[in-house]
């Protein structure tokens, strides 16, 4: 009998620790990120003879990660409502094209054109999912195939591609040698999202709709309003990501954002946002984005091929969803 309390205490403490980590996956994720950095550093020293952890490399990592950070921001919001947007990559590409197409008419018009395209595609998705209740997967796959068709028509036509100055500055410049310009935008977006999710009524409704749509409805929420807005927002964030990308490469092409579709989903899932909705946030996604970027560098160093990346990302989605589902479902 005397042994019982002690025997109970250990699993109790263990459970508490597990609970704490399940509540704050960001802590674990930052640890994973640090380990990844160190491993990459070791591999880099071994193969090239230089350290990976340098100011320059850190700055480059952030520079490369920012577009994914934007696209994953939209994906995070959509997945918080229990949906998914598979049109993010093509929305980003379309926005990049629109910007460089209108870039000759002035910077503002260029940027506005890109964002408007993103908003438009997002609204179409939102109306389909929110009002006509089309399965989000099918809806967003459908809009991306339409977008792809339209893009390939325009991409085939000769037109002058002018990337607005501000876009290329934002996408590729660094201040003070080490501070990527796009980091400024990313930090601003991150601040808005993290605070917005917590301290605005709309943020509350995103979680509510994702957590339990029936309860949200009974609380008076008209679900379609929340959904239309969230897909529209996702379109705008994807467009921002597209602008940063085209600012970086200076040349829009059809495959500009293709890898970012899978990575945006993976980043959100890694970041601990539930794919069923209602739990998570943008801070986890940020770490997820950085993990994916460093993992990408590591895989490049290891001469990993495209297929290996695909298999790794696909498995990450399945395995992590299973783990998160198990950890959070133990109560």
């Amino acid at each position: 009998m005397t042994a019982a309390p002690e025997a109970l205490a250990r699993p109790g403490r263990l459970r508490a620790a597990q609970q704490f980590l399940a509540d704050n996956p960001v802590i674990v994720l930052v640890g994973v990120l640090a380990v990844l950095f160190i491993v990459t550093d070791i591999v880099n020293r071994r193969d090239i003879g230089e350290p990976f952890i340098t100011w320059n490399q850190l700055s480059t990592t952030l520079l490369v990660a920012a577009p994914l950070g934007m696209i994953a921001a939209g994906q995070t919001l959509v997945m918080l409502t229990g949906g998914i947007d598979l049109s993010v990559a093509l929305t980003a590409t379309a926005a990049a094209f629109a910007t460089s197409w209108q870039g000759g008419n002035g910077e503002v018009q260029g940027v506005a054109a890109g964002l408007a395209v993103g908003l438009g595609i997002g609204l179409v998705n939102g109306i389909g999912v929110g009002i006509f209740r089309v399965n989000p997967l099918i809806m967003t796959l459908g809009t991306s195939s339409v977008t792809f068709g339209l893009l390939s028509i325009y991409a085939g036509k000769p037109f002058e591609k002018i990337v607005p100055e501000i876009v290329s500055t934002l996408g590729s410049d660094r201040f003070f040698d080490y501070l990527p310009a796009n980091l400024l935008l990313w930090v601003a977006v991150a601040a808005i999202l993290i605070l917005g999710l917590r301290y605005t009524g709309y943020g509350r409704m995103l979680y509510a709709v994702g957590d339990n749509p029936v309860a949200a409805r009974l609380a008076g929420v008209r679900l379609w309003q929340v959904r239309v807005v969230v897909y529209a927002l996702c379109g705008v964030f994807s467009a921002l990501g597209g602008l940063l990308l085209v600012g970086f490469t200076a040349n829009p092409d059809l495959g500009l954002a293709t890898p970012y579709l899978l990575q945006s989903v993976a980043a959100v899932v890694i970041g601990g946002t539930s794919i069923f909705g209602g739990w998570g946030g943008y801070s986890g996604t940020i770490v997820g984005v950085l993990i994916l970027t460093v993992l990408g560098s590591l895989l490049t160093l290891l001469d990993a091929e495209e297929w290996q990346r695909q298999v790794i990302y696909g498995s990450i989605i399945i395995v992590l969803t299973a783990i998160y589902a198990r950890v959070s479902g133990t109560d």
Binding site: F132, N135, G142, G149, V311, G314
Partner: protein, 331 residues
């Protein structure tokens, strides 16, 4: 006891009404197909044999993809990995068949079908064991299979014996009946028909229609769902082989469009995405309609990219209409 009670005959819906509801949609799709044929002929400058061949090349893989998706959707699931698994089969068969004799190629095809059946069962097992929704697991598998396809073959290559390609492209004897049609019908008759009217096939419908009632009727729900994915794997394998036979080459990206198109064909073919309703004949017709409409657009001189746009828009349109109809009949 009181006077003997009078016999009661329950009057349900009239037979014609029931048949209209059960088969009306399928018949309508076939009528649309029949209506398209003369239009298609009037546009074409080529002789009939050449035209039939052109349709067969496009339609055969989609028919099988639609059949695979239909079986899985009827069981209450959805498989987003159909397209990329078809890509795997395509490159795997093209890589090895190039040096084979016709007989060897046939034997190898059988082996591949066994493998795809196992792969489907594997997906089904993950879904039923982990209880992660179908959509997430198959989304992960989409990327995994895409990676595997790239691993097998990075750039298009390989081939198939001429006689093997003839299975998709030729016609029976000197008649105008395309081999492709015969292949589809044989697969339908050998794989699906025997199941459809026996317990395993009925169980698939039952599980998709109402899992509780199915369980109370003594059906192994998990077993049946895995079985549906396995059957889907067989049809997916056939689709991949059809890709090889009709294109005569292996291409790791050849399968990508088939996921969305298979969903479209299933919805257009009268299979409700909620499960339990529909059959395979409708989706086969829908696959033919989708193919035919694309060919007609091309014949009319439309930019092939516009054809993509129309198709994407058509898919969304069909899903929206299907959803509205489903909602109406439910309320």
């Amino acid at each position: 006891m009181s006077a003997p009670a009078a016999a009661i005959a329950f009057r349900g819906t009239a037979a014609w009404r029931r048949n209209l509801r059960l088969h009306g949609w399928t018949v309508a799709v076939w009528l649309v197909l029949l209506a398209l044929v003369p239009y298609w002929r009037s546009l074409s400058q080529q002789d009939l044999e050449f035209d039939l061949q052109a349709v067969a090349i496009d339609a055969l893989p989609l028919c099988f993809a639609a059949m695979a998706q239909a079986v899985i959707v009827i069981s209450g699931g959805i498989d987003l990995s159909i397209g990329s698994m078809m890509g795997v089969v395509n490159v795997l068969s093209a890589k090895h068949m190039i040096g084979m004799s016709f007989r060897e190629a046939l034997a190898f095809s059988l082996l591949i079908l066994v493998l795809t059946a196992l792969a489907g069962a594997f997906t089904g097992l993950i879904i039923t064991l982990s209880r992660i929704p179908d959509i997430v697991v198959t989304l992960g598998m989409l990327f995994v299979w895409q990676g595997v396809a790239l691993w097998i073959m990075e750039i298009p290559g390989g081939g198939a014996p001429l006689q093997y390609s003839d299975l998709a492209l030729g016609s029976v004897g000197s008649t105008l009946i395309p081999n492709a049609l015969v292949v589809v019908l044989v697969a339908f008759a050998l794989v699906w028909l025997p199941l459809r009217w026996l317990r395993p096939g009925l169980a698939i419908y039952a599980v998709g229609s109402n899992r509780t009632a199915a369980y109370l009727s003594g059906i192994g729900v998990a077993r049946t769902r895995v079985g549906a994915y396995m059957l889907g794997g067989v049809f997916t394998g056939l689709g991949g082989l059809a890709l090889t036979a009709s294109s005569g080459i292996g291409d790791p990206n050849a399968g990508v469009t088939y996921t969305l198109n298979s969903v479209a064909a299933v919805v257009l073919g009268g299979v409700a995405l909620v499960g339990g309703v529909g059959g395979l004949i409708g989706p086969i017709a829908a696959a033919l309609v989708l193919t035919m409409s694309k060919i007609i657009l091309l014949l009319r001189g439309t930019d092939p990219n516009y054809a993509n746009v129309y198709q994407g828009a058509l898919i969304i349109f069909v899903v929206v209409i299907g959803g509205l109809l489903a909602r109406k009949t439910r309320s």
